[in-house]
């Protein structure tokens, strides 16, 4: 997804990002049905490019085969790929959504949504990335659309059809 030929070209085909996946570039990107996972976007307004990832867990514990799945491997990787396209950390702006708790019960991985959100925040701070806005927590599923070519807008849609920009 770091294909230079696709840069700057308006491409209406929306890239769908599944659990643990990520994309980098200027195309519209979308991830559906975030529950306890986090949809994180990074955007460079000067270059009008960005990245989106659907993070499932805070820690990779040494696993490297699916870097987009974990906060601690996803964020450095996105920064590296954006860096290769000319983005500087200090010019990147982050937005995030998700981290909900869909079920009230169940016990092997308590408050995973909250832990995901906390880990992402700690890492963004560590890499000195500004977190511009967030919509985290609650008991609600969220789909997120990210439009790097159009000012990096991030729109959330819920099951009841309501939408808002963050």
């Amino acid at each position: 997804m770091t294909d230079a030929a696709s840069q700057g070209r308006q491409n209406d085909k929306t890239l769908m990002i599944g659990i643990g996946e990520y994309r980098v570039g200027s195309q519209p990107m979308m991830t559906i049905g975030l529950g306890s996972c986090i949809g994180l976007t990074l955007y460079d307004s000067r270059l009008k490019i960005g990245a989106m990832v659907h993070i499932m867990l805070p820690e990779s514990a040494g696993r490297t085969d699916r870097p987009g799945k974990y906060a601690d491997t996803a964020i450095p990787l996105l920064l590296k790929e954006l860096g290769a396209l000319g983005c500087k950390n200090r010019s990147l702006v982050a937005k995030m959504a998700g981290g909900a708790s869909m079920f009230e019960y169940f016990g092997t991985n308590l408050n995973i949504g909250e832990r995901n959100a906390e880990k992402v925040k700690v890492l963004l701070k560590e890499y000195q990335i500004t977190l511009a806005s967030e919509e985290i927590g609650g008991k609600v599923g969220r789909s997120v659309t990210f439009l790097p070519a159009q000012g990096g807008s991030v729109t959330i849609r819920r099951a009841d059809g309501t939408t808002n920009e963050i």
Partner: protein, 203 residues
């Protein structure tokens, strides 16, 4: 996680028996016939979960599999929001479709899920001689993908793919379409297959 044809057949038969019992209880609650599909078995990569469950609004009553196993995976009663309203309308004697779901609906859905999943697991326990009990139920009425990913995240052993074993239960008269979906932990699946294979050898 790959199943041989024989293993898949055995699991399918197990699902047939479980779902038939669940269908009977649903039929009794609705007072009308309920048809069931052939159980389907899918191994789904988590990145492609969206191809199985998307943004559709659905009610899910989820249970952790417990009993002789500690964290055995999950089993859930899945019903689209529209069917869920029809189901509770039928049970509560209402007709209005365009209404928000309230506590009465939630209690009714949890009760239906509880009865059906208990019937399913009773039947499989009898067949396998291996007792899986449902945890207390948890309900969510929201985007199907969001609910499912949250359950996958709570599995005892972290996974990149899940085995979804589902049977569709349909009541034509009231236009109610629902599924019972089992998502076992890998170790639970291995154990169930072992038991089934031993049964077949003994037969």
């Amino acid at each position: 996680m790959k199943l041989s044809v024989v293993q898949a057949d055995a699991i399918q038969e197990l699902g047939n028996i479980g779902a038939a019992h669940a269908a009977t209880t649903l039929s009794q609650m609705l007072g009308s016939p309920v048809e069931m599909s052939v159980p389907s078995i899918k191994v789904v990569d988590i990145a492609n979960l969206g191809t199985v469950m998307g943004e559709e609004s659905a009610a899910m009553v989820a249970f952790e599999l417990q009993g002789e196993i500690q964290h055995g995976g999950f089993i859930l009663f899945y019903i689209t929001r529209e069917s869920a309203v029809r189901l509770t309308n039928t049970m509560l004697g209402l007709t209005e479709m365009n209404r928000p779901m309230n506590e009465m609906d939630e209690s009714a859905l949890i009760e239906v899920g509880n009865i059906m999943v208990s019937a399913f697991l009773d039947a499989t326990a009898e067949l396998l001689g291996f007792i899986m009990l449902p945890s207390p139920p948890a309900l969510t009425i929201d985007m199907a993908h969001a609910a499912m990913e949250s359950l996958i995240t709570q599995m005892a052993v972290e996974v990149d793919d899940v085995l979804l074993f589902s049977t569709e239960l349909v009541c034509e008269e009231h236009k109610i379409d629902s599924d019972i979906i089992m998502m076992p932990e890998h170790s639970t699946l291995v154990h169930i297959i072992e038991l089934l294979e031993n049964m077949m050898k003994g037969a």
